[in-house]
Every structure is written in structure tokens, then in C-alpha cells.
Amino acid sequence: MIYDPIDIALTLAKIALVFFVILTMAAYMVFAERKVLAWVQDRKGPNRVGPFGLLQPLADLIKLLTKEDFRPIGADKWLFYLAPAMAAIPAIMIFAVIPFGAPLTLFGHTVTLQVADLNVGLLLFMALSSIAVYGVALGGWASNSKYALLGSIRGLAQLISYELSMGLSLVPVVMLSRSFRLSDIVNAQSGCWFIVYQPLAFVIFLISIAAECKRIPFDLPEAEGELVAGFHTEYSGMRFGLFFVGEYINIIVLGGLAATFFLGGWHGPWLPPVVWFVGKVLAFAFLFIWVRGTLPRLRYDQLMHFGWKILTPLALVNILVTGWWMVLRG
């Protein structure tokens, strides 16, 4: 394989663009979440900093950066410092495999709007999303605090309850598109979105990603009512900020994946592909915020019960039915 300098430059430019856009979007997701939650609760939300409160993320950033970086006595120093990065970085790395627009032609080169078009993109996503849980588990364990430890135990228990059904719900997608490559999956949906063939898998995936990004009704590792702040109880300043922003990056990335797997990625009529993609991501983000404004938190055992006794069997049956249907259709 010969590397063209223009290709390398374009890839670096894509990385920089994705990084910048994702971080900005994550910062504004915090703002959007506060606004939408406020509207749900008949309030106005942040509206003091800048016009309509639009500079609120900046103010939050300054606040977090100037806070004391505190480490509790008895905390495991390196793990404690490493954990926030372990939570945020895999989340943003997943975005590398997501195609966010139709291929463009620039300087005579075909540029895929995707940082890395891996042939195991889907598996990479599964792997990275499991690594992100290490951030939660180690962060809670290293803090030397019982609330944090309880939060991380819950995070792990939650992981084993939803990861399986999440993986299984994606199997029909792979069967239909006959590829692990995300660009192939998107192209396979140019005619008809997979949500039409696989509504059940879509619902299972949606529930699983709500658990994956630790959102209500599955925010057990944080559970501010019971565990103070769960696994990040002892974090302050920008380390807390990393956990926090990691959660929102996760929402964006998982929303992007749900769009890629079931809603045809960047496919859509009339509007440019990138707009379609961003629109779908934002729709998922809004859905998550809306659900947070509505539902209460599940209990630990309810989540396990739900994951193991309902979602996983359903996903398995769904795979069988899909296979059967594909064989029948030839």
C-alpha cells in the first residue's frame, strides 16, 4: 500500500475536524440537556451567560479548569488519574469508524467521510465500548470511597447485562449487510433502512445504548440519589469534567452508531448527507434527554432481570427469525 502525502494530510484534517466537532457538540449537549430538561419541568434553564445562555459551556469549562484538582487520601494515584481518560478517550475513538457523510472528491482524491474504514469496524466499536467501562470501574475502585466503589460495581454489573444483548442485536444487521465494515452497512441501507426489517433489534439496541452511556433509566453507576455521584464522587475539576464530557461524547457517538446501523447512516433524500447524519444524531440525543426527563431510575436487579431474561432471549429469537427469513428468501 502506498501512502500519498495528500491522503495522510486529508486523514489528519479529518481527525482534527472530528475531534473539534465532537468536543464542541459534547459541550453544547450539556447545555441542550439542561435546556430541554428545564423545559420539560416548566423552567427556563440556563439563560444568563451570553445570549440565551449560549456561552454557558464556556463558563462551565472555566469553572472546571480553575477548580482544585483533589485526590483523596488512600486513592490509587495512577489509576485515579488515568480513569477519566479511559472513560472519555475510547468514546471518542469509536467515532473513527463511523461514516458521517457520502464520499467526496477533493484534489482528484476520493475522500471517504470516515476517519478509518476498517473491515472490522463493528467489532472495534464493541471492543472500545467495553474498554470505556474500565474507566468507570477503575475510577471507582481507585477513589478509595465506598460510594465510588458501589458505583463501579454497578457499572460492571450493568455492563454484563447489556453488552450481550447489544452485540446480539447487531448480529441481524451484519447478516443483512454481510459485512462488519460500517460503510458497507450504510450502503446496504441505501434502499431501505434496516429499522424497517429489524424494528425489534433497533429497540433492543436503543435500550442497550441507553445503558451503555449510563443514562436514565439505567444510570445506576451514578445514581445521584443513592450514591452521591457514583463512580466519580471523588473527582473534581477537569478530571470530573472528562468523565462528564465523556458521557456526552458517548451519547453523540452511540447516537451516530444507532443511525448508522438502523437509520441508514447519512442516507436520506433532498438534504446533503452530512446534514442527514447530524440530524439523526441530534434526534437520538434529544430522545435520550427526553427519556431522562421522563423516566425514573431502574433498580439494580431490575436491570439485570431485564437484560438477561428479556433482552437477550429476544435478541436471540430475532437472530433466528432473521436467519430463517433470509434462507427462505434465498
Binding site: 419541568q41 416548566d42 427556563k44 427526553w290 427519556v291 426527563g293 423516566l295
Partner: protein
């Protein structure tokens, strides 16, 4: 089936929150918009005067005794004619919980609660209100009441001349 009922319940909840997104917020933007509290709202405490302009407070210490957090202190004194007054009178608003028990205890209706709730200060010592800060020129919520018109044991009028007060009885001339 239970699951259908559950899904229905979820969707109704989502529908309700969806409708609330488009409701007008009930927020009052505080420093710009202010809400007028009801007249009986319990906030800053004042010492009122009677309709003749005299101080109502007779330094009886009842408010101080009723106060659950002990934030009222005073020194009583007696003016000419035997009329009692507070030499100094101090309320520590940093401690006051605005329960209104002092106003309930006061026999002369001198100490009263007002709806003015904006009394935060930068320095906690500024929340120590002295008698000059507390005393107002009006009668507050009971404009006609004058303690000494009703009783007052011969301070402003001879005994038995108060409104609604019976004449003193001459026990020696009491005949069946």
C-alpha cells in the same frame, strides 16, 4: 398483558413530558422580575408606633422569650410617667428564622413582620439591626391599636379610664 400495560405507561409518560416542553415556563427571573409577596409574608421585622406616634414596644421581653433562636435582645428603661420603652433593641437577622413567633407573642403589637425579603448583606455584622433600623414611623398592620388606650395601669390615663375597662371598684362601699 402486563408488558403492553407497561409500554402504554411509558408512552403516556413520554407524551406528558413532551407536552410540557411547549408550556410557558413558570420561572420568575428574580432580579429583573420581582414577585410581590402577600402582606402577611414573614420577612424583615419592624417595630411599629401607635397612632399617636409613641413607641409601642414596652420592652416586656416576651418576644425575646418566644424567639426559638434567641436573636432578640433589649434593655428596658422607664420614661417619665412610668411609660416603659426599650433603651436599645437589637435583632440579629443572621440568626432569625422568620418564624413570626415574636410577632405573635407581642402584647402591644409593636413587633411585626413585613414582606420585605431582600435583606442579604455582604458583611454578616450588617445584619445586626439596632432599634434605629427597626423602628418605623407607622402603625404597621394594625393602624388603630393603641395599647395604652386599653390598659397601661395609669400611665397615660387614670386607672379604669381605658377603652373597655371597668371603673375600679371601691371595695369598702360594696353593698349587696
Amino acid at each position: 398483558m402486563a408488558i403492553i400495560k407497561d409500554i402504554y405507561a411509558l408512552l403516556t409518560g413520554m407524551w406528558i413530558t413532551w407536552k410540557h416542553i411547549f408550556r410557558r415556563p413558570v420561572t420568575i427571573q428574580y432580579p429583573e422580575e420581582k414577585r410581590q409577596p402577600y402582606p402577611r409574608y414573614r420577612a424583615r421585622i419592624v417595630l411599629t408606633r401607635d397612632p399617636d406616634g409613641g413607641e409601642r414596644c414596652v420592652a416586656c421581653q416576651l418576644c425575646s422569650a418566644a424567639c426559638p433562636v434567641d436573636c432578640i435582645s433589649m434593655q428596658s428603661a422607664e420614661g417619665e410617667g412610668g411609660r416603659r420603652y426599650a433603651e436599645w433593641f437589637r435583632i440579629n437577622f443572621a440568626r432569625c428564622i422568620f418564624c413570626g413567633l415574636c410577632a405573635e407573642a407581642c402584647p402591644t403589637l409593636a413587633i411585626q413582620m413585613t414582606p420585605d425579603f431582600e435583606i442579604c448583606k455582604r458583611d454578616i455584622m450588617d445584619l445586626l439591626y439596632e432599634k434605629e433600623d427597626l423602628l418605623i414611623d407607622g402603625c404597621g398592620k394594625s393602624p388603630d391599636y393603641n395599647f395604652y388606650r386599653h390598659t397601661g395601669i395609669g400611665v397615660t390615663q387614670p386607672r379604669g379610664n381605658g377603652a373597655g375597662e371597668n371603673r375600679p371598684v371601691d371595695v369598702r362601699s360594696l353593698m349587696p
